[in-house]
Amino acid sequence: MSDVPPAPPSPATHETQVHEVEWQRLDPRMLLVHPIREVVRFLPVLIGLAVAGTASGGAPWQLLGVAVPVALGIGRYLTTRFRVADGRVELRRGLLSRRVSSTPIDRVRTVDLTSSLVQRVLGLTTLRIGTGQQQSDGEGLDLDGLPHDRARALRGDLLRASAVADAPGHPEGPAPGVPGVPTAGGPWTAPPPVPPLVTFDPAWLRFAPFTGTGLVVALAVLGGGAQLLDAFDVWQRLDRDDVPAASTVGLVVGGVVVLLVVLALSVVGFLVANGGFRLSREHGSWHVARGLLTTRETSIDEERLAGVALGEPLALRVAGGRHLQAIVTGIDRNQMGAATLVPPSPADVAPRVAARLLGDPAPVEAPLVGHGRRAATRRWVRALVPAAVVAAVLVAVAAAGGPWWLLVPAALVLLAAAALAADRVRGLGHALVAGHLVARSGSLNRSRQMLDVGHVIGFTLRSTWFQRRAGLTTLVATTAGGSGAVGVLDVPTEEAVRVADEAIPGLVSQFLAHP
């Protein structure tokens, strides 16, 4: 999102359907949303003011505490305007320091519709535009607060305008005459509803305890609760004599209760994040909708989907689940779960969707080439050496007169490391199949990444001295999407060169030395 003065329009966007030429305000209903948001943001200050106010008995301070956020919200509404003109989306913000964000429509990669609970009650949506530029300031182009219908229409316009600009004569370009409802954005018409590829199934809730997000939510709630108790001095008021002495039964019951609470919280967190999940395809874009309270719809331009990553972390694999992430340009990486295509679900769902998204089941199903004995040795050494150090320390302490049971964790550490190494060896593999570079690695967080070679924008071959001695290289294909790289870990060097050469013919071959 470049904050630059508007450049001359690109010729490609003349025939697009976007006509919101005048500078205009966002929806006036945001006048209700902004103050609520500001009040929530200022809540700690407000509570402080309220406490101070009751102490001093004065009302004016409390009024000020409410008035300032409200005024800020109104000010924000009055000073924000946007327009869609000359093939660009422009957003003007601020009163004292004015900033204009402007982005060409043909650079639009993803469009994201998010509605918080307050916005949903009022029928509003935030429209966020992703362009795939490296955003350093974190300020995306957000149209915060459009009526839901208008946001959807604008999204349709932006995506098809972008698609038309990218591919003239695209079969799915604007097709006037499709029956439907005319929208505010122009003559573009709403299509008949398309059946979604996959929708949320309550049975998926069983995967909640096996996901990181579920546990994070659970721990966050527990931590927050403890802090709240702390704030009200519950711990101090708790008289030690009132607490019965901890018995074994009590400890077990307590542990089970905590476990159940964590489980319940992780299920609720999963439901809030993924409830109402729906993946569908419209006008050459993939639409992912999810969220129970705050709903979020991400639209990914089909041409911009560089690839997918089939996530198979150890815990989820044990439970028989998989999830799917998009490798795509224009997704804000700071937002958790923004690239999720399929949340944790039974093992057959994500691969089926991946095959549909890639247009070919081969990258998902093809058997992978292993990396050989030397790569396996490296996995074992890297897992066992740190574990051996820990185990040696434990054994030394036990031998020097420490408690004998220290030998138990020492053995467990070694066993866990061996299991990890074995699983990592099993997971390691790659393939170049059906125009996709497929790479799989990892154990606790294993994923099978499938990247369209058309989206590869360079190669990195990294090898440490140890790797060079073993004849191994880590081949990294860089791409504009996702984390910017798909790595093939510890592949034999000749194979790395062969794969890179085959993926982009003519690039690597000029730097080869023929023996």
């Binding site: 050989g372 360079g458 190669f459 990195t460 001295w465 730097f511 080869l512």
Partner: protein, 176 residues
Amino acid sequence: MASPVPPPALPTVPEPGRGTPALRDPAHRVSPRARVMWLLGATVEGLFLLAVLLVVVLVWGVSAWWLALLAAVVLAWVAVVPQWRYAVHRWEATETAVYTQTGWWARERRIAPMSRVQTVDYAEGPVARLFGLASVTVTTASAAGALSIDGLDKHVARRLVDDLTRQADAVEGDAT
């Protein structure tokens, strides 16, 4: 996402190289003066480390043998790393691609097609200026894809930047 490439036969386990072509080093070394610059950097780092060690020995009374041992390590570092770095650092630019090799213990070879080059940066750091050196950074659309080469003679670097800018401009597309 559909690819024009026909589905190939299932892959087989790679045969270990027998006469398979290997990736060679890029053609050009960086300026020999870069060795001096890196030596200076390593020396300053080494002296600082030794000073810290000396303070540790004087204050806590650690055995001087430790100091001698660590000093030997630092000396080896100063003697070896700049030379190693110079041996590894190489670059090459052709009509269609940029190829760099950097690092020392971990060697990193990066290849980017000219059609994907987004920006070409030229920078002279304060120390590099003393030696008439400059660094060139070539960025692509990937967050992980920047190619950077330090220790170039500044005239060579200027010419490289001009060439790269001209060639990258000649290619159509938005480089994503």
